[in-house]
């Protein structure tokens, strides 16, 4: 069976199951009420796209910095990175956003909630990225560094020509997963009143009392973002593919 056909079948079965489930609850659909707010959905979705893209780029940057710090020879630098990673990974994002925005951002005079939101989300996702990157770097055999040094490469050249090309291939799948999570985690930015996709859907729901009609488009909207991301990751993975020697 061709792979595309298998996908079509599984998706069809899934949709059928969802339809059956919905038909059982005898829900009175009222799409018209929600349709009136389509602009609000679109605006919210675009804000989520923008927030996600910004956080995506920044979290990779933050993660790379933290990964380098985790490997530092200086005890203080390494400890700082370790404490950062553990605190972020060990506490709910909800709490980080509330404290980060209402306490920290306020204290330092950062009033733009969109910038604060992107920073907080990047710090959150960066902690996970840091561990992924560290794992990728440490998976490169010691002999590769020996070889790079033996032919006279500078440390920077060794990183660029030898270590990174191999590490990128290793970290692509987990990084893609983390980026998909990041897109969905951006929905929590609604708690600091950023009018992104989720907050707008919640508002439409409170205006129209059409709960499912508000939230089903929400799910579809996130899929529209995450599915291409996964596809891109698979394509990149394919491009970087080679067998380990």
């Amino acid at each position: 069976m061709p792979r595309w056909l298998a996908h079509v079948i599984v998706v069809a079965v899934f949709i059928a199951a969802v339809i059956v489930a919905f038909s059982r609850v005898h829900y009175a659909w009222n799409w018209m009420a929600v349709w009136e707010y389509r602009q609000k959905f679109l605006q919210g979705w675009l804000v989520t796209v923008a927030l996600s893209l910004a956080s995506l780029v920044m979290s990779v940057f933050v993660g790379a910095m933290a990964a380098v710090m985790l490997r530092s020879r200086h005890a203080i630098v390494e400890a700082a990175a370790r404490v950062y990673v553990e605190i972020i990974r060990g506490t709910p994002l909800l709490v980080q956003l509330l404290i980060g925005f209402y306490v920290v951002a306020t204290a330092i005079g950062l009033e733009n909630r969109y910038i604060a939101g992107v920073l907080l989300l990047s710090l959150f996702s960066g902690a996970y990225m840091a561990e992924i990157f560290r794992g990728g770097l440490e998976a490169i055999p010691r002999g590769q560094i020996d070889s790079a040094r033996a032919i006279g490469l500078t440390p920077w050249q060794a990183l660029r020509l030898v270590v990174l090309p191999q590490a990128v291939r290793l970290v692509l799948p987990p990084v893609a997963g983390q980026l998909v999570s990041l897109v969905k985690d951006s929905s929590l930015l609604s708690v600091i009143a950023i009018s992104e996709f989720t907050l707008n859907a919640q508002e439409v729901n409170s205006f129209t009392y059409s709960t499912l009609e508000s939230y089903v488009p929400l799910a579809v909207g996130y899929l529209l973002l995450t599915l291409p991301l996964s596809a891109l990751a698979r394509w990149l993975e394919h491009r970087f593919r080679y067998e380990a020697a």
Partner: protein, 253 residues
Amino acid sequence: MNLFISDLVQRFPVRAEAGKPAGTATILDHLSLVTGDISALVLIGPSGGGKSTLLRILAGLDSPVSGRAAFDGVPLPRDEAGLRIYRRTVGTVFQAYNLFPHLTAMENLLLPLVHVHGLSEQDARERVRLPLERFRLAEHAHKRPAELSGGQKQRIAILRALVVQPRRLFLDEPTSALDPEMRAEVLEMIAEVRAEGGQFILVTHEMAFARRVADEVAFIADGRVLAAGPATTFFDAPTDPAVCRFLSLTLST
């Protein structure tokens, strides 16, 4: 090359293990060695005796704790920047090949030429063309290391070290990870390098080959040189009892 080594000491930190506290292990224990003006020096001895550690220092990959080493009267640099420049003038081949798995054999050869020695891509390709043909590797140039046999990998690794036209090669047990057939093709390549006047220092357990290519041999155990001298006298008339024992053991297997 005239090699002069005096009082070389190398220690490594050892992690705490069951029953033993953390500490340092002395791998080279005031090792000294002076050779004549030779082309090929072979280091032999039991595993863990310090051969590879010594080779890594001579290849400029590690710095000793103390002591001196000099080739033709020129001491090895002590700082990393100086060592990096030194490493560009020599070639090193490892037991595990250490080719770059994400690059093809050709790209492995080009990388040091282009990025370290400043050749254009075109000049670099021209430089490797004949050597590839000569060692019957041209047909494998487009393959990644995973697609090559162990012997082919090691020959590409030797070629990668050779094409930069180094003053000498350092070969660390280049055949230990190979089965006998592949071992022969790699040894043959080293013998050809020798025949063309190439200089090298070789760590090996291949006694017959050592005897064939070596000008001088040094027997290293417990971080010291127990015996050293011209290959013929070393193998035919060994005097040191430890060397005799080692030779009789390795020759009987």
